[in-house]
Each structure stands twice: as C-alpha cells, then as structure tokens.
Subunit: 301 residues, 4 copies
C-alpha cells in the first residue's frame, strides 16, 4: 500500500466536500477523483483534476465544422469520424491532471512525451523516501533471444532469487549511504543535489502530469502496447481505465481505431488485395522483408 | 452586440444549471463562465471552461519542492517567488478554454502562439457570416513616422471618411460576391473552400482556444503591451480581466513582475549603478546605442 | 513566373559560390538549394538550408539503440524498421528550411502545424505586393454534393467565367483601395497594420518555414493526401519531390508506410480475417457503420 | 579523457574530409565540428552539425519585416534590436546538433527543456559502460544553510573522504551486480531493461540533442546561471563557448541582454526612480518583501 494514513485522510477529506460549478462535469470521472490506484509495489496514479467530456469534443468539432455538421445527430458517430480521420484538435479540448508515483527508470521513459506539463518532486530541495521498485518474481524476465529490447522467459529458482537479492540489498545499501551522506553527527552533510546521485533507478519519484486527451491517447497507444516495457505498461493500463469512464465514446473509438487497429503499408495492402482475390502470397512474392512479412502475418493471422 | 437571441438564450441556460463536482472551483471564474464580453464591433471572448486556481499552482509547486517548502505558509508569497524566479511549470497546471470571435487579421497574429489548442470555424465546411471589423473613427490612425510597425496621429475629417467608406464598401461587395459565387439559380455554386478566398482580412472568424496559464501569461505580456496592435490588445485586456478574477495572486504577480516590469541589459545595469553613485551618465558615456538609451530613459524616467 | 530578375540573379549568385564544410552533405539536395519551384500562379517553394541526410537518421538511431543495432548492416533496412515501428526521434535529427510564397488562405491552413519555426512577411512593417491567386479554369470546382469539405464537378462555361471575373475584379479593386488608403496626396495615409485588413485571402504572402523531418512527414501525409485542398496539396507535392532527393531511403519508407499505407480499425481487421478465411462479409455483418464500410472497401478494393 | 582511441580516430577522419556545399557556412563553428570538449570526469559535448549563422538570423528577420528594415545596414544592430524586443522567431532559424555524454541526474534536469529533439542511448537495447561521475573534492559541497536547493561550504578532510568512498564503492558494487545480473554461467541473464534499474544516477549516459538557437539561449540562460547546479552549469558553459564562435553577434546580444541582464518588477522600478531622484529607500519603504529586496540589492549593488 503506497499511501500513508495521512495521505488517505487527505483524500477522504477532498472527496467529502463537493462544490458547485457551472462547468461541464463528467460523472464517470468524479468517481475517480483523488483516489489512488495502486501500480507496481509502491506506485500509484490519482486523477487530480480534469476538463471536458465527450460532449466537449463534439462542441469543439462543431465550432470547426459549423453548420455543416448539424446533421450529425449522434455524438458517438461524430467522435468515431474524428478519430478515424485523424482530426486531432477536438480531442485536445479535454485535459487531465494526474498525480503519479513511479520508479525513476519509468519516469525517464515517460518524460520523453514532450507535449505535457510536469512538476516532479525535486531531490535538490527535498529528501527522497526509502521506496524502491522490487519486481514480483513473475516479472523477472530474461533478455529476449529474439528481440533486442524485449523480455523472454521468466527466471526460475536460484537465478530469480539471486537477482532479487541483489536488487534488494543494493537498494538498501545505496539508500543507507544516501542518508549517511546527507547528515552525520558533527558534520555538515552533503548537499541534497549531490547525495541523490547515489540512488539507483528503481527509487520512486512522483510528479503531477497534465496532458490533453489527444496527446494522452498518443502516450497510451505507445505505452499500453504489448511491446512497451511492462513497468510503464501497467501505468498506461491504469490510466486507460479512468479514461474509459471519463470519455466513454472517445475511449471506445481509441480502442477500435488505435489500440486494436493496425497500420498497413502500401506493399501490405497490395498483398491483401491479391489474397482476397484468391492468390496465394508468400514472403518471397510479397515484396516485403522477412521482418515485415512476419509482422503482417501477425496482423491478419 | 455580437450575440443572437438564440446564443444569449443558450448562455442563460448554461448559467442556470449548476453541477456538483469534487474538483477545485475558482469562485471568481464561475461568475464569468459562458458570458460573452464584447470586443471590437462584432467580437467577443467567453470563458468555456477552466482548470485549477491559485491554490493548484502552489500544490504543484509543493510536489516539486516537497518538504522544503513547508515553511512557505503563504500562497501569495510562494506564487510571487515562483514568478520572480521563472519557475514556470507550476503555472502550467492551470488551464483555460475560451471561445473567441475575432477578425481574421487578428487571428493570424494570435495563432503564432503555438503552445495552445485551437479549433477554428472552418470555411471549407461552413459559410462565414456577413460580419466585418470596421474601426471606430478614433482608431483610424496614420502610419507612425517613427515606428515602422506602429500608428501615429488619428486621421481626421475627409481622410477618415474616405477610409471608412472604402472599408465598408469593399467588405459589402466582397461578401455579396462570396454569396453569389456560392450559389446561383440553376448553377452548382463554387466550392466553399474556394469562395472564401474572396473575403478580406477584416471578416470575423471564431475559435475555441485552450491554453495553460504560463503560456497565457506569455501571450498577455506580448499582446497587452502598449506596442501590440490595438485590435489584438483589446482582446488581451479583456482576457486580463477574467484572469485577475480567476487566479488573483498569480495575476497580481504577473502584473508586478511582467506587465509592469522591465528587463535591463548588463550595460543598462552598469549605468544604473554608476548613476546611483552620483555619476552623470549620458548616452555617449553609456556604451548604449541611441535606441537603447532612449528605451532605458523610458524605463527609469 | 513568380521571380523578379533581381531575385533570379540573387539565386544564381548563391548557387555560384560553393563553400567548404566538414558537415554532412546530401548531394541530391545541393542540387535544389535556393532554386524556386513554381506552385500555383505566383507561388513557389525554395530550399534555403538543410541539416542531415539518410545516414544522419541511422547515426542518431544507433546512439539510441547502441551496440544492439550493430548487426543492422543496411541503412535502408534500419530506416524502414524505424518508420514501421513509429520510432520518430531519429527522423527529427534532420531539418529543412524553406522559403515559401503562398496565398493567405493556404498559409492559414499550413500554420496549424505547430511544431515548426516561421518568419512571415509582416504587413505591419511592409506593403504587400499586388499578387493574387486566381485559379486555373479546371480548378474552379463546385461544392461536392457528398462531402461537406470537398469539391465536386468543375464549373463550366458562363458560371466559370462569372466566378473568375469576380475573383479578378475584387482582387484588383481591393488592392487599389489598399494602396489608396496607404497614401494620398497631402494626407497622412492609413497605418499599414490597418490598411492590410482590406486584402482578400487570395493575396500572396511569404515566409521562411523550418521543420524537422518527422514533423515534415506528418505535414506531408495530411497535405499531400487526396482529401487535402488542392491549393495546399500542390505545395506538399512540390516539397515531396525535394525530400525524395534529400533523404531517398526515408522518403521511400514514408511513401510505403504512410502515403501508400492505411490504418485499419480492430473491426476492419476482424472482417479481413473472416474474408481471408472465405467468409462473405457485408456492411450489415461487419459491425461497421456505412461510412466506415465504404472507406474499408476503398482500401481493400 | 572520455574518448577511446577508436572514437578519436573517427573524429580525426571526419575532420579530415571537407565537403563542398552551397549552404551558409559559419567558419567559427567549422573549427569545433566533431571535436569532444571534456566536461566533468567522463563527459563531453561535441558539435555534430549546425544550420545557419548570424546572417541567417537577419535574413529571416528581413523576410518578416520586409522593406521596412532595409535601412538597418548593420547586422549586429538588427540582432541586438531583435534580442532586446523579444523577437524570438528569427533566432529559431538557426539549429545545432550536439552529442553529449553526461550523468543521468544531469540528463534528468536537461530533458525538462521540451522544445528540442533527443535520441538517448537506450539501456533497453544496449549495455551501459562502467563510467560514473565522482565529484572532484572541491565540488563536494555541504547543503546550503540559506538556500533549500543550493550548496554551502566545501566538505573537508574526513567527511569529504567518507563521501567519496561511498560514491566510489556504491558505483562499483552496483555496476558489478548489474553485470552479474545480465549474464551468469548457465543462466539466461536478466533482461537489460530490468537490470539497468540497479544503476545509480551518477552513471553516464549519452544522447544526440538538437535544438534551435532561441530555445538553446533559453536553456543557457537558466543553466549557465549561478543558481544552476554546478554539474549542469559546466555543460552550459562549454556550449556557450562554441555558440560564441558560431553566431558571435547573437551570442554577444544574449550575453548583454540575458546572461548579464536582470528583470526588475514594477515595484523595483518604482524604487529605482525614487532613488535616482535622491530619496533614500529601504526595504521597509520599498513595498517589497525581504527576499525581493535582498535580490534587488544584489542587482543594483
């Protein structure tokens, strides 16, 4: 459980005090506000604020497309049309602010998504907590033998134990030494901005992360994907759940057109057309490389 | 008055229906929601939605600066500190969505601020209304004789009348012809995406514009400035008023440190130090060019 | 011909003076530098500068993927892999700077691509030239009867003549009046920043536009598409030609995976799999809306 | 020395092979191309490519300001004018690509500058080298007693030794264990994407970083500042040196107006005016808080 009793009491307080507003309200999201959803061993995501709902997407689209869209009577149909045709700006009209606690090596991947606002806990100002990500045994995977950036089989028995032992003992030792450098009887203590460099990348940090729905979908498409590293994918999946309740039509369209969809090349489309006409197409006659063909088979198989 | 009775009724409806939310509410902003504030002859700004308040800025800052800022008991002091030291990310945690109606030549300046989300009324899909910006007589300024991009004296009498007459008659004629090209008895009518090219830059367009508070302040600093073109400055000033009610501490700091402040060069600071010690400094002994010296005198004079 | 003799002489000068550099050089691009390629009746694109080539993309990718990519012996294969798997950052390592002359209504679409650097000719400082886009007769299309934003049949005979006559005479009249407002015997002349508002959207402007290759590809995918307005598509097509000579491997991958490819939804993929197994699938049994099914048929037909 | 003999040979090769180009060349920058400038104990910066020079800034400005700037005969004067009046877009027309080797905790600060392109060495694909930042003894500062994020006195004697001993031994141990987890006799070895989490934040990474001159100046203003952490400031200072040779006029203006300048608030300007008229102003009569007053005294003192 990543929350202290004080933190839980704060959340309960915030949830006990409804306010009146004239703004658009997304009922499905109100239910999630402030609550911490556990991710990994000490992490979480919490929705701190949001702006807009499915209807706000349509409203913005109708500013753009004006009288011409009056006949689109159904919001869901309009939203699916926008998603299908890459009309991204109406989705930018919704915004979400999350509080996320996550290991540093996950934060380093996450921050590469540049179109977002971030306030991270600063280890120059403050002392980090003694919290480290130690994988569950079934997450201790070997290097993939096929994929340079992926995982293969789960480690077993003695090897798994050895690895867990290393991660735990190095985390403990590095944090003990971090504390020891920060202060010592009768000594000044090393500056926090220097002492932090002794902490390994599985130490937890936290931040506020604010992003519009279009850019969030882009993040989720890449990070909820099966090829993403598991430790960031679980954050993406937790976010997917709250987004599905926030903007159900938009999330449904995202699931169908992005998460569940696939982009086929001109060559792949050409093969498809031949196959649909009854021709037997092989990698050799496809014009594709072996890698492309394997991926193509994965999509249509 | 830029609103139709139907539009006013929509606004009244929206304002008559409060919702419950667990989110942060800015009472000063609730009062502005949806209302149209007139700008120029047919334009307006309206707040459609917002996220956050002064407190949300501090909350985000405290994530960053953690325990180290616990002693900052006053939100206003913290916000002034953040503004003074260019800590911009906490201000990015607030967001505003505006509906703006504005002449195309103003929209073309405005859109240069890239870090924002925009949905503009599309003249490919829809027909633009017959609304054109015609300046008030006291806004009909001559070209400045000193400043390549500025205005000088107000035009008088016959010249002012001649200019107004041109603007009115060309707007009318171009719009008549726009309509005539769009449809004609027994004829197909030119595609909207082509017909629009006949409309001059004083025709009104409209858009939804969403931006975070940091980038909004940047926009306001440049566009509420005395050197900005009057026709965009009046929009910036109308926005300043609602922002002052939304985040009063942040707006106060912005007024003091940005709108009312000035950046001095190393050379200018050097002159200042000499002057404070009693030395008489002239342009010749300042090391500054004539232009710089004139601007420096404007700041300290 | 959009260039004056002075402009052509400048270009000839620039092309006559090679310099020595230690930087990467793309021979295919050197051939295009500075030359003006005509677009529409008075517009052009010109390459002013560029950074990087196909090899620079691979070099950046190898920083990312380090020793793991040593076995990728072929640059083309690596580039196709990066494009297929949406690894966009290596493509951002190439940059191009264009000088573009284009009608204002095209510029208004173009500028919506925010991740780029722009310096546009300022009509606050300077006087615009008397140059307007007047479509060729075969570009005078009627509004599409099927598509709210598209074009249908080409206008014929009297209607075409009428439209051309309007566009020409309104352009001429508006420009005459623009000039008349700017200066008049014994009068001050209206400020340029005001007088410009009388010019219709087919007047030409120009700008320097600098963008990285990844964002350029995004622009080209949307604007070289058959659904883009013809008047911006011709610019995109002119840019495609120089990009093909600049980074031939990257452009080839872009053509196959983006321009010639298609994104299929989860529902569409499901239908495909059923069809490949011999099942007859109709719109009714597809789970797709009529619009989606029609587009699906367009892709596989 | 952070380079291997192979790396040095590569650099020598690249520098031995000049190419012909029609592009603009900045002679001061050609001299720096590819060379590695040492920063910290194992880091460096290297210029890999660049686009534009001082003249390219002026050329872009003259597109914007057109005929109106013809009388600005001097490039330096124009560049100083642009910098003084926050006309940032012409500076965006220059671009630089750097190869940087830096400790992870520095990279984490650096990446917060979002308007840049980055390809970082991926520890999912590849194995990081055994290189860690160990501060020089005179950089081992205690926490500041006045500033929550700063450094105070340098640690002495036994305390300094203790800290260095910790940093060295933890780095060594963590790297030994990183290697041990990656492979072991008869065992599969942990996936690289997991093993990397054992490495502390002083391990070195490297990346290609590409940025335009405007955003680079923004980075340098914040990171070459006396309040920046020393370990990133030394990178900023090394970059300042090459920029000064690349665009000497722009860099000179940047030094005067940004690095050497200061922004004064409305309250501070008011005090200044009173002081210049001979009034004695104290903190109590200034309207400023103690913190603001102290900073104000620092600027004018």
């Amino acid at each position: 459980m990543p929350l202290t009793p004080e933190q839980q009491a704060d959340i309960d307080d915030l949830r006990a005090t409804p306010n009146q507003t004239l703004r658009v309200v997304a009922p499905g999201m109100e239910d999630h506000l402030y609550k911490a959803y556990d991710v990994l061993d000490h992490g979480f995501i919490r929705v701190i604020d949001y702006m807009g709902d499915d209807n706000a997407i349509c409203q913005a689209a109708r500013v753009s497309y004006g009288k011409g869209t009056k006949h689109v009577s159904q919001n869901e149909g309009l939203i699916r049309y926008l998603m299908r045709h890459w009309h991204s700006t109406p989705f930018e009209m919704c915004e979400i602010k999350l509080h996320v606690k996550l290991p540093v090596f996950v934060a380093r991947q996450w921050i590469r998504h540049r179109t977002a606002n971030v306030n991270e806990y600063s280890a120059r100002y403050s002392i980090l907590d003694r919290e480290f990500y130690i994988p569950q045994p079934d997450a201790l995977a070997a290097q993939s033998t096929q994929n340079n950036q992926g995982r293969g089989e789960v480690l077993q028995g003695a090897e798994a134990e050895r690895v867990l032992e290393i991660l735990k003992s190095d985390s403990t030792r590095c944090y003990d030494n971090y504390e020891a450098m920060l202060s010592q009887d009768d000594q000044a203590g090393l500056a926090r901005e220097l002492a932090r460099m002794n902490l390994p990348a599985n130490v937890y940090t936290q931040w506020y992360w604010k992003v519009d729905l279009h850019n969030l979908f882009h993040f989720l498409r890449l990070r909820a994907d099966a090829h993403a590293q598991m430790e960031i994918r679980v954050y993406a999946e937790a976010i997917c759940k709250v987004v599905a309740d926030w903007v159900p039509f938009a999330y449904g369209a995202f699931e169908d057109y992005r998460l569940g969809g696939a982009t086929l090349s001109g060559k792949a489309l050409d093969c498809l057309r031949r196959m649909l006409k009854g021709e037997e197409v092989t990698q050799e006659t496809s014009g594709m490389s072996k890698g492309e063909w394997r991926e193509f088979e994965g999509v249509i198989g």
